[in-house]
C-alpha cells in the first residue's frame, strides 16, 4: 500500500517548499495497516518450566482466597 510519505515532485523549488512544510508539520505519516497483529509483550521473563511449577499453586491460591479472585 502506498503511504503518504511519497510525494510527487514538481520543480525543485516547489519540492523544497513542500518538503520544508512537511518537516515543519512533523514529517510523514504512514497510513497503511500493519501486516501482523500488534502483540504487546507483557515484559515478563518466565520459562515454561516455571509455569508448570507454579500452576498448581496458583489454582490452590484461587480456591483458598475466593473473595479477592
Amino acid at each position: 500500500m502506498r503511504s503518504r510519505c511519497t510525494k510527487s515532485l514538481g520543480t525543485v523549488r516547489h519540492a523544497t517548499a513542500v518538503a520544508s512544510v512537511a518537516m515543519l508539520a512533523g514529517g510523514c505519516v504512514n497510513v497503511s495497516a500493519p501486516d501482523k497483529p500488534i502483540v504487546i509483550n507483557l515484559n515478563i521473563s518466565i520459562t515454561q518450566e516455571v509455569v508448570y511449577r507454579l500452576d498448581n499453586k496458583a489454582k490452590a491460591l484461587i480456591q483458598e482466597n475466593p473473595g479477592i479472585f
Binding site: L42, I46, K57
Partner: protein, 123 residues
Amino acid sequence: MRHMLFTAAAISIALAAGPAFAQRDPAYQSARAQGLVGEQPDGYLGIVGTPTAELRALINNINIQRKKQYTDQAAAGSTVQQMAFVTGCNLIQRTAPGEKYQAPDGRWLTRGSEPPVRDPRCL
C-alpha cells in the same frame, strides 16, 4: 423442627461449597458482572472504561491483597511477578461469560463461551 434443621444444613452447605463469587464483596462482584473491571494477564484487576474514584479504590484494595498472596506464595526460584502471571493465566481462564478480560495485546475483550485469548505461555 426437622424441616428447619434440614433447611439450615442445606443453606450452610450451599454457602460453603458454593461458587467463588458467593464470597466476593458485592461491589466487586457487581463491577465484574457489569464489565467495569476485568482480569489482566499480569494477575491483577484493571478498570475497563473510564476510571472513577470508587473503581480505583475497589481494585487497589483487591490488588494489594492479591500482591500479598503472590508474594507469600512465590517460592524460591520464582518471582512475585511470575507467580502473579501464572495466577493471571488461571484467572482469565476462569472468567465467566460476560465478564471482561485483557488480551495479551492490551485489548479488553468480553468473555464468551469459547476459550479466552491468553498469553501462549499459559497452560
